[in-house]
């Protein structure tokens, strides 16, 4: 067999930075996201150190405002949203459908450059002048009071939005047009259904964010009355427009995570996903209904009671397809031949953490409780359970699952399992106390607080320290495995997906010959019942 694969076809920098190979672009995204993740993580670390005591010991209030804004902006737009689609998705979508590449390879490379340009501009704004509006850029603070770097940061996000739109477009066209013969819609892996739903949101919602940020800049620079009521604007319009994007953005983050979990649960239970069609259509249902619930971020903003009731009702509705997915994963596990490899540990952690995050979301969908909990740590804990406990855990699970395919190397199962358990433990210790803090009334975005809250904050900061170590661990053992790990076979998990039918790492054009699909996905029949080979 030839040693030539996508990593060894050419070693020059030029071959990397001008590549149109989806696998190499995925690696470019991967490296960029690690960079952004650690910048956002550093801000989080500073926040948790500051909050270990009730006084302002480490930073002033101004710096604290800049810290949590930096944490939010970087993590949301430059890590969570692009993470699974742009790294794992970019790598495996063509492999999973038996294609040579995405439909628009050069557009794919351009997306990465646009993303980096946006990221660098935003980073410049954050580091040069600092932004203190919070990641939401609420007016009138962003248009009247904060410094001008807020517009520079918004410009960076505006630019990065185009990267999202182009990636979404690329995935939609690829999934429609480039499927291998025999790969019908109901034979698609569920990860692709979830990425398809995510792409639809990316294409439909991101332009609204771009327009919103443009309107914000217009009002700030030209005094056009869009949001400011003194010059004829509507003070709630910004929040309507912002959350019309940003609530679906939560599903941009979590839907790909759910897709990864389908692959993991099925593979490590050696069973077909229970209720395949339900799970597939639930992805689309979540994407669609997710557009109808943005007003639940605005219950105390002054919007009308009728609007709040409608949004509250719709928020309960969107929980239904999410719950169906959780039930179907547990049903898939039932009587499965379960293997507790590292990806499976991440998947199980995801199911637990996402369930807690989802159920506390129902608390917040209740008008009465939301009034009490708005802008408290309850909300902080809730969305971290979804976005970090859910999405980041799924990302790590997917990364471990496809790592042998990406690098052609096996990692240390011992360290991977240890990291997975530590992440689960550290995460819960960090964020569960925040539910209690929030229920007791500690507001978010404050760096000094009454001493009676300290015990929960100390627990939370201690958990954050464990979590930080656990998040650093994969950097070492995966980094080591990429260069020195054992060679991976083509199909280390003994899984039936098309991506496992080619060598690890794959050749430049993925498959030696066009694969033909003749059966439904996740057919863990006698042929695929053997043990995974990484243990």
């Amino acid at each position: 067999m030839s040693d030539k694969n996508y990593l060894t076809t050419d070693y020059t920098l030029r071959s990397w930075f001008l590549t149109t190979d989806h696998k190499r672009i995925a690696i470019l995204y991967f490296a960029s996201l690690i960079f952004f993740f650690f910048i956002g993580g550093a801000a989080a670390t500073a926040i948790r150190i500051e909050l270990a005591t009730p006084q302002a010991d480490l930073v002033s209030s101004d710096v604290y405002n800049r810290l949590f804004t930096m944490h939010g902006i970087i993590m949301v737009w430059f890590f969570l949203i692009p993470s699974i689609p742009n790294t794992l998705g970019n790598f495996v979508v063509p492999l999973m459908i038996g294609a040579r590449d995405l439909a628009f390879p050069r557009l794919n490379l351009m997306s990465w450059y646009i993303f980096m340009l946006g990221g660098c501009i935003t980073l410049f704004a954050i580091l040069a002048g600092g932004v203190d509006t919070g990641w939401t850029f609420y007016t009138p603070f962003s248009t009247l009071y904060s410094n001008s770097y807020v517009i520079v940061a918004a410009a960076g996000i505006f630019i990065a939005g185009f990267s999202s739109i182009l990636t979404g477009l690329n995935f939609i066209v690829t999934i429609h047009r480039l499927r291998a013969p025999g790969l019908t819609w109901y034979r698609l892996p569920l990860f692709l259904w979830s990425l398809y739903a995510t792409s639809v949101i990316l294409v439909l919602a991101t332009p609204v964010l771009a327009i919103t940020l443009l309107l914000m800049a217009t009002e700030r620079f030209f005094g056009v009355g869009i949001f400011d009521p003194r010059i004829g604007g509507d003070p709630l319009l910004f929040q309507h427009l912002f959350w019309f994007y940003s609530h679906p953005a939560v599903y941009i983050m979590i839907l790909p995570g759910m897709g990864v979990i389908n692959e993991l649960v099925s593979c490590f239970s050696r069973k077909q996903v229970f209720g395949y069609k339900f799970v597939a259509w639930c992805s689309l249902a979540i994407a669609a209904v997710g557009f109808l619930v943005w007003g639940h971020h605005m219950f105390v903003s002054g919007q009308s009671l009728i609007a709040s009731l409608v949004f509250s009702f719709m928020s309960f509705i969107v929980a239904v397809p999410s719950a169906i997915k959780v039930f179907n994963w547990t049903a898939t596990l039932h009587k499965g031949s379960i293997h507790f490899d590292a990806p499976m540990l991440y998947a199980l952690a995801f199911i637990g953490l996402f369930t807690i995050g989802g159920l506390t979301g129902l608390f917040l969908a209740c008008l009465a409780y939301d009034v009490h909990a708005t802008d408290t740590y309850f909300v902080v804990a809730h969305f971290h359970y979804i976005m970090v406990g859910g999405m980041v855990t799924a990302y790590f699970g997917g990364l471990h699952y496809w790592w042998p395919k990406i690098t052609g190397r096996l990692y240390s199962e011992y360290w991977a399992r240890t990291a997975a358990v530590l992440i689960f433990f550290g995460f819960n210790l960090t964020f569960f106390p925040q539910f209690i803090l929030g229920a007791e009334g500690m507001p978010r975005r404050y760096h000094v607080y009454p001493p009676e809250f300290q015990v929960w904050n100390v627990l939370s900061s201690g958990g954050a320290a464990i979590l930080a170590v656990a998040y650093l661990m994969p950097l070492f053992y995966l980094g080591y495995s990429a260069f020195f790990g054992r060679r991976a076979p083509a199909n280390p998990w003994n899984a039936p997906g098309l991506e496992w039918q080619t060598s690890s790492p794959p050749p430049e054009f993925n498959f030696a010959s066009q694969p033909v699909v003749t059966r439904a996905p996740y057919q863990y029949n006698e042929h695929f019942q053997a043990e995974p080979q990484n243990a």
Partner: protein, 91 residues
């Protein structure tokens, strides 16, 4: 000199948009009461239809493209509908 001339459909659509624009401005000064908004929205819809069908060439596209274009319009409708519902029912 090239002999290229813009297709009649494009010129026609452009002229149509100008006529509709003139109609919008004129009718804005005619006191129709509540019907003013309805008329303005109706003309706006026709304009949008012209742009979508002629300039965006959606009239020649496949069903799938039309579904995606329609989806964009549908979601825009949701944004406007739920956003205005809040505005119209504020106390």
């Amino acid at each position: 000199m090239t002999e290229w001339r813009p297709p009649f459909a494009l010129v026609g659509a452009w002229l149509g948009l100008l006529v509709l624009l003139a109609l919008t401005v004129t009718l804005a000064y005619v006191p129709l009461g509540a019907a003013n908004a309805v008329v303005a929205l109706g003309i706006g819809t026709i304009k949008a239809g012209l742009v979508a069908a002629i300039f965006m060439e959606l009239r020649h596209r496949s069903g799938l493209t039309l579904i995606f274009a329609g989806a964009g319009l549908f979601w825009l409708g949701i944004l406007l509908w739920l956003g205005s519902m809040d505005f119209l029912t504020r106390t």
